[in-house]
Amino acid sequence: MFPILLCYSLCLMMIIAAFGAVYVKNLTSAVIAAGAISLAASLLYLLLAAPDVAMTEAAIGSGLTSVVFLYTLHLIKKIDEGDDD
């Protein structure tokens, strides 16, 4: 029973996070929301008996991708400040 409940709540969470990523004003928050979807997804993969995918999704989908996004946002801010070549 518990895994099923967890599964449903993860699904719900992901959908909410997705809407957040689309509509939240702040871009950084959007990136974090998108990362949260991946994180929830990686938990879901554990439930679906796919630990390899879970690991990869956590490391790449939520971790690295978010970092790359945040770096980019940081870069853009730098360009705005005129620290540009």
Binding site: D52, A54, T56, V68, D83
Partner: protein, 226 residues
């Protein structure tokens, strides 16, 4: 506004196309022939405990080679698009705690990464996951260090040599064993031990090194493009 309507129409169209997949899924209660064969044969033929690894490295090895190359494209593409930062740009000094913590944590994380890719045939995880973990360690170091010199020359070397080694193992498989990327080049070994499963740990090590260095250089390029 009219555009919104079209967008709605397009998304609805996609929904119409995708919805059959909901009902068409999950009804299966047995593995299909291909999957069942993998599960039954892989331990015997290849000596892997982790069937996913067997599929990735051996049965569908060409996909994985392609995947490594796609990541290589990402490195090359990012490098192609973004220019390097000028030397000697000031970087904001991070806080003391972060830098100390980062320096202590980094080797531990690297070690964990190595563990993950070298045990890919036994436990969940493998070259890609391990590589990412190593990259994370460097990321932490980048964040925490005042300036961590990333030797792009060294990165290129590791990247290229490990990639080349992967390919060489593959070709050796073609020459000496059953086919390109055949992991039975080395004996399957004792089931469940670290040094088993033919060349799978070797390949995963090369992949791990390659993926790790690739990701580090992507991050480095994004970071230092200022």
């Amino acid at each position: 506004m009219i555009k919104r309507l079209f967008v709605l129409l397009a998304v609805a169209g996609m929904a119409v196309i995708l919805i059959p997949f909901v009902s068409g899924n999950g009804a299966g209660d047995a593995l299909n022939n291909v999957a069942a064969t993998y599960v039954e044969d892989a331990p015997r033929d290849l000596g892997t405990m982790n069937i996913v690894t067997a599929v990735i490295v051996t049965y569908r090895g060409l996909d994985t080679l392609g995947e490594v190359l796609v990541l290589f494209i990402a490195t090359a593409g990012v490098g192609f698009l973004l220019k390097k930062r000028r030397e000697g740009d000031p970087v904001q000094p991070p806080s003391e705690i972060l830098s100390t913590g980062g320096m202590i944590l980094m080797p531990l994380i690297v070690l964990f990464g190595i563990y993950v890719f070298s045990h890919g045939h036994l436990t969940p995880g493998g070259g890609f996951q391990g590589g990412v973990i190593i990259a994370t360690a460097f990321l932490l170091a980048m964040l925490s260090a005042r300036r961590l010199p990333i030797y792009s020359g060294l990165l290129t070397w590791i990247e290229s040599v490990s990639g080349f080694a992967y390919l060489a193992v593959g070709v050796l498989g073609l020459v000496l064993a059953g086919g390109f990327l055949d992991s039975r080049l080395l004996p399957a070994g004792r089931y469940g031990s670290l040094l088993s499963s033919g060349t799978i740990p070797l390949i995963y090590t090369f992949i791990g090194l390659k993926v790790g260095t690739e990701l580090v250089s992507i991050l480095d390029k994004l970071r230092s493009n200022q």
